[in-house]
Symmetry: C2
């Protein structure tokens, strides 16, 4: 594409050459002319940095300057944009990000933990420095959901944003669905297949999804990012029996990140951010999202329901998102990282979920003795929880305990918490109850 | 939002105040502060034009200047951007679009027919005039698919783009699925409910989907838009029996617009653009798209499969897309309408589908007499079409004819056309066969 030879290229410094970094290098090589045509100029990697220079990554690094100290990338005069693929919410990644922005360089990052913890201060710094901060790859891999919210849905007041934000958890839940196996065995298989990490905590306990949700909330609702306020639970308590029971009721179980803004009695706006396993009706688009796929629903006051779906991780999809950000920067289209200027983002109090209403699925594991059911149903009555259907299942295959599952009528979520509290000291319960909200159609 | 009071507003002239135009007016009123915060300045309608000034549209027009002649909007010195919601591929809409661009004004349009027919020359004109041409609302209503392709997937070579691009056709097909009713009765019901127009030709014969597909093709493959080359068929030949048969085979029927680039034997690139009813496997995300919803899949060489889904029409969703374009313009983020500069868009020869391979569903309506099946199967043999399964159904309820359906093995699509040709003169067939491709998982 000789058209671009007269236009200065966008010069890139790349920090972190793991699978995603190598993916970015491969993409910029494979799609070089296409990317140049769309960006209006060439995208050229000038310098790279990673921990180990000698490691074979399957990509040729000989054409790039090497920096042992990645923060030196921020100081190079021959770089316009820094791509941070190091990971970790603080430490070297944050030092690099701050240094790059302070040096007036555009920063592109796939680091959801860093953005969730420091996205606001980085956005303030970037806007003060008049440079770009972009993080499409930090949320839902290759899906252009940051752009979709920031720009595609920009005309709307977003009423709610929710979705499947963690591929590992979704892989496990949908594998349990298919095989009927329990959580532990399915996790082990996912680890063997590379769908779950050796330490899967962040994925299965909802932390990774919470990182992403807090970023989406800030864009959707114009709030300062507040990761700490995400009410977060994982999927490790979900049993094969829950999935079977949900199926019989017409639902599947998905780990759902959900955020919306509510008003308290005194009229002030509060932000609810939850990551919880939920029962999703089989007619809902998210019920058909299986495997390591991510999907995000944004409900706008004019657009209605918008769904974005795709690969939530992987070198190719994540590299696709990183380079999309670089193309925007090369085009001169960056704008405010969180859609409105960072100084206008407001801090918002976290909502208590207590006054919300809805239906829920509750499952108790109990000892097999007389009176247990009476004890549970009395607690429900005392907490004003109305039961729509109650299923006492037979003896579980793995011991002397029995599962009792129920679906409540529409009612305040706070009452369910209260019922759980009333039962918390009971000797009849062998574990805390599993409480899952029913998502509407 | 006093922050913006010092920044000049984006001044808008609005032509055409039907349901979508009224939606744009309502949106800009309801979300005014939000839109200003995201756009960096206020969006203000200055002047409007429509056919009938006195008609009650449920919105207050008294604050806007009125132009009887809509092309006068293009000449006003107090307008930065013209929104064209008049419709029609030529005539007043095109005159207005050309006039606005010639006058250096940004043009936002929801007019798929005009963009499909004249998008290339309008883009050339806009780029020469240094102004913006944007048409998010012309493709799939409120779904930000133009942006998703132009920018979100910009790092990718797009391997294939396909989807459900017409809400009316999808409403009818999914209603037939649910009720078991035939096409004619379902269309009448859709008309009564407002899901189909009095003259539904453009929707049910695939023309509207073809308009949208040709626009998506140009962006995805960097080609000059070529609506005339879309190989187009509608859904009026689909019977309840076909839907039942597809269901038994594990499929649903959807009207699919699909485009990809292929190479001919001599190595030159050719573009296939088809709008056809297809059999979609129940495990595919598009199989779960029911009602008037649209959904588009873009397969990138790094991103993998991206799915965008939402309302394909309606005043709110379409207004959402129109205003998203206006926000981009207010932010100064416009760029090339078709992603790469119009002068670099190449004309591409249309592909013959003959050399493609795949599985297909064929359904014949035949007279009930001996030898018919032998005649059909002989034609298949002579055209080298291998049959995977053949289903002869009983006498159709509406006459003396019998339905014969079959699914072919993977094979050249050209052979199927040849078989149909061999049978075209046959007295046994009461209508041309219905041929539908099977979409892969």
């Amino acid at each position: 594409m000789t058209h671009h030879s007269s236009v200065a290229p966008l010069r890139i410094g790349l920090a972190g050459i793991g699978t995603v970094g190598a993916g970015v290098i491969r993409l910029l090589k494979a799609n070089a002319d296409l990317v140049a045509a769309r960006a209006g100029r060439r995208l050229e990697i000038v310098a790279v940095s990673a921990r180990d220079r000698s490691r074979d990554r399957g990509v040729d690094l000989s054409g790039y300057a090497w920096e042992d100290d990645m923060t030196a990338l921020a100081a190079r005069g021959d770089i316009d944009a820094v791509v941070e693929l190091v990971g970790g919410s603080d430490g070297p990644a944050l030092a690099l990000a701050r240094g790059a922005i302070a040096g007036g360089k555009a920063l592109v990052t796939a680091n959801k933990a860093m953005v969730a913890h420091h996205g606001h201060s980085l956005a303030v710094a970037a806007e003060n420095a008049g440079t770009a901060l972009k993080f499409e790859a930090a949320v839902a891999g290759g899906i252009p959901i940051v752009k979709g919210l920031r720009e595609g849905a920009a005309a709307n007041a977003i009423e709610r944003i929710y979705g499947i934000l963690n591929g590992t958890a979704n892989y496990i839940l949908s594998a349990m669905e298919q095989t009927g196996a329990d959580f532990g065995a399915t996790l082990q298989e996912a680890q063997a297949l590379g769908y779950a990490e050796a330490d899967p905590t962040f994925d299965i306990e909802g932390v990774d999804a919470a990182h992403k949700l807090s970023i989406l909330s800030a864009i959707a609702f114009g709030t300062q990012i507040d990761f700490a306020a995400v009410d977060c639970a994982g999927i490790s308590a979900v049993r094969a029996a829950d999935i079977a029971q949900a199926d019989a009721l017409g639902y599947v179980i998905r780990l759902i990140g959900m955020a919306d803004v509510d008003r308290t009695a005194d009229g002030s706006a509060v932000l609810l951010q939850q990551v919880k396993p939920c029962l999703v009706p089989k007619g809902h688009p998210l019920a058909h999202v299986t495997g390591a796929t991510n999907a995000v629903v944004a409900e706008g006051n004019f657009s209605g329901r918008l769904l974005f779906q795709g690969a939530g991780a992987g070198d190719g999809p994540t590299a696709s998102a990183v380079v999309a950000d670089l193309i925007d920067i090369a085009r001169g289209e960056a704008g405010s990282p969180f859609s409105i200027p960072a100084e206008q983002l407001i801090p918002m109090q976290p909502a208590q979920s207590d006054h919300r209403t809805g239906q829920a699925y509750l499952r108790f594991t109990v000892t097999d003795r007389p009176g247990v059911l009476a004890e549970i149903t009395a607690a429900m009555r005392d907490a004003d929880v109305s039961i729509e259907s109650l299923i006492q299942q037979g003896r579980a295959h793995d011991g002397g305990e029995v599962l009792v599952a129920m679906v409540t009528h529409d009612g305040p979520e706070g009452n369910i918490s209260k019922a759980a509290e009333l039962l918390s000291g009971s000797a009849s319960l062998t574990a805390p109850p599993l409480i899952m909200r029913l998502l509407g159609e």
